[in-house]
């Protein structure tokens, strides 16, 4: 059997990274967007706890993207609440406690076309991938796997090469322009070390953000998904929970109510390192062709 170091399911990420057998179990986030109310308490708690820098004056602009003025995850925003506000066909008449009737009232935008305004809110975060491309490509060892199975940047080591920025299939990690280093969510590594849950999960008033051992969260999420499906919400889906997906499953996964790209998430991300052995082979072959080309060029008799 292959050991799945670059791709595929991996049962013990911390063990694979070299931690001894008695390391803590892998923890993660389950973000259930069906109960997110868009309060942004997670964004605020994250910035407060982690002491993230104030935005510079030019960044304080209104985006025009509903109530989302954060825009995206970045070096200084480690939680980002997305607001999707659009018009969709009115749902079929709801019978009684249909969950869809909570999401939207028929023709709620009042323009008489039977369309309805839909609101989706979702708190995005670093996925702490099983196969983390940022960690794989980091040339300095600044990005490391923790004993909790999460991925963090060591700021005293990072030299700002920005390889991780281009490698992340979720567009999460970014370089801070003023200090030149890469930053992202640590899943509150300092709090985990002190047996506390991460600040965002602690602050979430609806338990949309749940923190805990990843295995338990996956079971909770499956139960919740079944509930929603039984209530008629066929669009509900889990995102990132599958160890057989392109990144070996994520440490932070989601329950979404539409396709991932509607939330700004890649539909089927694959860790770039999956293809790395093939890339090295191609580069080796090309190097051989280069050397052979020179040999051929010099093979003729001297003029």
């Amino acid at each position: 059997m292959t050991n799945n170091r670059l791709y595929g399911p991996l049962s013990d990420v911390s063990g694979d990274a070299g931690y001894p057998g008695d390391h803590p179990e892998r923890v993660g986030f389950f973000t259930d967007t069906s109960v997110c109310i868009g309060c942004k308490a997670c964004e605020v708690a994250c910035k407060e706890w982690n002491g993230l820098p104030d935005p510079v004056a030019g960044d304080l602009t209104l985006t025009g993207m509903s109530y989302d003025n954060t825009g995206a995850l970045g070096a200084n925003s480690w939680r980002h609440v997305a607001f999707i506000e659009d018009t969709v066909p009115a749902p079929a008449p709801a019978d009684g406690g249909d969950l869809l009737s909570l999401v939207a009232d028929a023709d709620s935008d009042g323009d008489g076309d039977g369309g309805t305004t839909r609101w989706l809110m979702a708190s995005d975060v670093c996925k702490h991938c099983t196969h983390a491309a940022c960690l794989d490509v980091c040339p300095t060892g600044a990005l490391v796997r923790t004993e909790f199975g999460t991925v963090i940047v060591q700021p005293d080591v990072c030299n700002g090469c920005a390889y991780c920025v281009s490698a992340c299939p979720f567009g999460v990690i970014d370089r801070r322009e003023d200090d030149g280093r890469a930053w992202k969510c640590t899943m509150c590594y300092d709090r985990l070390r002190g047996d506390l849950e991460p600040a965002c999960a602690k602050a979430c008033p609806t338990d949309s953000i749940q923190f805990g051992p990843l295995d338990e969260l996956r079971a909770i999420a499956q139960t919740r998904l079944d509930e929603l499906h039984q209530a008629g919400n066929t669009e509900a889906r889990l995102y990132g929970e599958d160890p057989d997906d392109g990144v070996g499953g994520t440490g932070a996964f989601f329950l979404l109510l539409d396709e991932p790209e509607v939330y700004g998430l890649p539909p089927d991300p694959v860790v770039t390192t999956r293809d790395l052995p093939a890339m090295w082979r191609r580069a080796g072959a090309a190097a051989a062709v280069l050397a052979a080309g020179v040999a051929v060029a010099f093979a003729g008799r001297r003029s």
């Binding site: 490509v137 509607v262 890339m279 020179v294 001297r302």
Partner: protein, 313 residues
């Protein structure tokens, strides 16, 4: 401003009706690469030039072509030094460049490249210094021969550097990109060899010309193959700044090869070939570089590659 969940693609009129893509207000899914021009494309060019020049220098030395050997060795050393400078300047914390040698990670092409470049710079520097000063010629020749081993790897690993990312235009091109860079590097070094022999005694121009022609042919063929294999993402090599550069290279490189064929009879043709091929290699590198951010900026390329919505033509 696109609305959330809105269906739509790029602004350009397409011959083929575009597949429908939904997105979050049309915003990028990926972060745009932080690497910038001219630093990164300059490094790609100089790394290729250095690598292939080292091989040229060693081959010329073995076959007794002194002038061409010196041109190859000096170019290899100078280009390695210049390329390294561009890489360091690209860092967010340049004063920490030595952190690159904290670890050796096979999963990080940049880590492997740092070690490779360190070895190659040292070897090619020693070979050039010995050649120029005449000090310890045996050691210089040995260093030059070793640089002929690191050289081809320096020239092609940078393709892996780009391809080992989530950026569609770079990652999806991982099969062809090393060959584009190998061809481009051969042509670059051939161009320097042509210029050096044309400006010098004029002897030994033929092997440099053959390198140039072979390199140009490989660069053109591999670039063609690259664009053919990309589906929708090929657009990013055909439009915008990247498109301008790739189109320019499509004329410059073959024109340089034609001039190189005439280089044996004409000094002017040799110099023209050197100029055209260098311009072709540089524009190819800039084009490849610029296609990356273009493919990360529009979420449709990420979605298309992941959902296999490849345009039919």
């Amino acid at each position: 401003m696109k609305r959330a969940g809105e269906v739509g693609g790029g602004a350009e009129q397409e011959m083929v009706p575009e597949a429908e893509f939904r997105s979050y207000y049309g915003r990028p899914i990926l972060k745009l690469p932080r690497w910038k021009a001219p630093h990164l494309p300059a490094y790609l060019y100089l790394g290729g030039l250095s690598g292939a020049s080292a091989v040229m220098g060693a081959a010329a030395a073995v076959t007794g072509r002194r002038a061409l050997a010196r041109a190859g060795r000096v170019t290899a050393a100078a280009a390695a030094l210049g390329g390294t400078g561009f890489l360091v300047a690209e860092l967010g914390r340049p004063e920490r460049f030595h952190h690159m040698l904290r670890v050796a990670k096979p999963t990080s092409p940049m880590s492997m490249g740092s070690w490779l470049l360190t070895a190659h710079s040292g070897l090619s520097g020693a070979a050039a210094a010995s050649d120029l000063t005449g000090v310890v010629p045996a050691l210089g020749a040995a260093a030059g021969a070793a640089a002929a081993v690191t050289g081809p790897l320096v020239a092609t690993y940078s393709a892996v550097l780009l391809a080992d990312t989530a950026v569609p235009a770079w990652h999806e091109a991982y099969r062809e990109l090393p060959f584009v860079f190998a061809g481009s590097a051969l042509a670059s070094a051939g161009a320097v060899g042509l210029a050096a022999t044309a400006l010098g005694s004029g002897r030994d121009r033929a092997p440099a010309a053959r390198m140039a022609v072979l390199g140009a042919a490989l660069e053109v063929a591999a670039t063609y193959q690259l664009e053919r294999g990309l589906g929708l993402t090929a657009e990013t090599y055909q439009q915008g700044e990247a498109g301008q550069m790739m189109r320019a290279a499509r004329w410059l490189t073959p024109a340089g090869a034609v001039a190189a064929l005439a280089a044996g009879r004409s000094r002017a043709a040799a110099l023209a070939a050197a100029g055209l091929l260098t311009a072709g290699a540089v524009t190819t590198r800039v084009g490849v570089f610029k296609a990356g951010p273009a493919s990360a900026a529009d979420p449709k390329y990420v979605i298309a590659s992941q959902r296999n919505y490849h345009a039919s033509k």
